[in-house]
């Protein structure tokens, strides 16, 4: 009996099906079911390929941004980021045979992506032992959260807001970007984020607060800017 995936397309952890039932199209299957279909098919036949293609489709863009932001201190070109993203998925395909569903597929995928990035940075000779938060919003620890006027972000068209969020997140230090991605895009728990990044749960908590406070401050500026433009247009 395969449990239904949640709204994010995930099957419950620990309930990995041996394979995707033939009647379930890949698009409707949970991540863990797809992963099991790829790993369970020794011959890696058509169903395994369809399952892998679906996993790729779901996560490609998010992994791409994760890689881009994670590798930012090494100054990668867009081609580098593309190449590393493909490396993540190539390694994913090869290593899915070892996936046993003990952790959620997302935790496992991002753990792999994290390690591929680390490996690539070493290979490219840009190793840094510590990443200091050197973002455009100041390196000091924030203890304040700015005021955001109610509805300030609603003034922006959704595509515009999305572009601004991406730009503002890319201005944050990598340590803040990665926790935001893992929490707000992948919905990992703090414990899972700690596992992926190999840091204590308390560090995850404080980094997320710092990240959101910084992002909020940037969005407050953007909201004010959008409000000003609206007023000008109104005149």
């Amino acid at each position: 009996m395969v449990s239904a995936p949640d709204e994010l397309g995930r099957a419950p952890v620990g309930e990995v099906a041996a394979e995707v039932p033939a009647a379930v199209p890949a698009e409707a299957a949970g991540d863990e079911e797809l992963a099991a279909a790829v790993s369970g098919d020794a011959a890696r036949g058509r169903r395994a390929e369809a399952a892998f293609a679906e996993l790729f489709r779901r996560y490609r863009e998010r992994v791409y941004l994760f890689v881009r932001w994670r590798m930012a201190p090494a100054g990668p070109t867009p081609d580098d980021v593309e190449e590393i993203t493909q490396e993540v998925f190539f390694q994913l395909y090869r290593s899915l045979a070892a996936y046993r569903g003990r952790s959620s597929f997302r935790t496992w995928l991002y753990g792999l992506a994290h390690n591929v990035c680390r490996h690539q940075r070493r290979r490219r000779g840009r190793r840094r032992r510590f990443e200091r938060p050197q973002d455009a919003l100041g390196p000091e620890a924030w203890t304040e959260v700015p005021d955001l006027a109610p509805g300030a972000l609603d003034r922006m068209e959704s595509g515009e807001l999305r572009r601004r969020v991406h730009r503002r997140v890319s201005e944050l230090a990598p340590i803040y970007r990665e926790v935001l991605v893992l929490r707000d895009w992948e919905d990992l728990s703090y414990a899972e984020i700690a596992e992926v990044l190999a840091i204590p749960v308390g560090t995850v908590r404080s980094r997320l607060f710092q990240a959101r406070a910084r992002l909020a401050a940037a969005l407050v500026d953007d909201g004010a800017e959008a409000g000003a433009e609206e007023e000008i247009d109104g005149v």
Partner: protein, 187 residues
């Protein structure tokens, strides 16, 4: 003063990641219950902060990239290339794969090595028996009593592992056909 303690916890409060004690403290601070007596107003400043953090979280969630299969073809190309026998790329974060068979460790090589060693020992035993037989015959009457039966040399040296029965260290416990790998004879 209370706000300083609460503010860093607001983000985890949003995510439901505080423990019970912390959650109660944040809730009390925001709702006012239990701080200055029941019915007192909560901290409006922290309520505004919470609103801002929530808006930032929702904006981030709304910016989640959609699905895409851009670049899938190149990943398949690489997978197929590797399948077709190109040198395998190193795997990241996996236990090391079983080492590829080397020329001196071909499947069955161990068995053949055992067979060779056993055949050599058997041949040495046969040679020793042949060379020592006349001497033993001459000295047999004077040999001390050891309790060890005389050596039984194999009739024919084995030529492969499959031909070699298990070694018999105590001939009296083995069948008459069981070979002894060395002569248990005092020399």
């Amino acid at each position: 003063m209370e706000c300083e303690r609460i503010v860093p916890r607001l983000s985890a409060h949003l995510d439901g990641e505080l423990d019970q004690v912390e959650e109660r403290a944040v809730h009390r601070h925001l709702s006012g219950d239990g701080e200055a007596g029941a019915g007192s107003a909560g901290c409006e400043r922290c309520a505004a902060r919470l609103y801002t953090l929530r808006a930032a979280r929702e904006a981030m969630r709304g910016a989640r990239p959609g699905p895409s299969d851009r670049g899938l073809g190149r990943v398949w190309e690489r997978i197929h290339r590797e399948r077709e026998g190109a040198a395998p790329a190193p795997v990241v974060r996996l236990p090391p794969p079983p080492s590829p068979p080397q020329s001196w460790r071909r499947p069955g090589a161990r068995r053949r090595a055992t067979a060779g060693l056993a055949a050599g020992l058997a041949a040495a035993a046969l040679l020793a028996a042949v060379l020592l037989a006349p001497r033993l015959e001459r000295e047999g009457a004077d040999a001390p009593e050891t309790g060890v039966p005389p050596a039984v040399a194999p009739a024919l040296p084995a030529t492969s592992a499959d031909d070699i029965p298990p070694a018999c260290l105590r001939p009296e416990e083995c069948g008459a056909d069981a070979p002894v790998l060395w002569p248990a004879v005092p020399i």
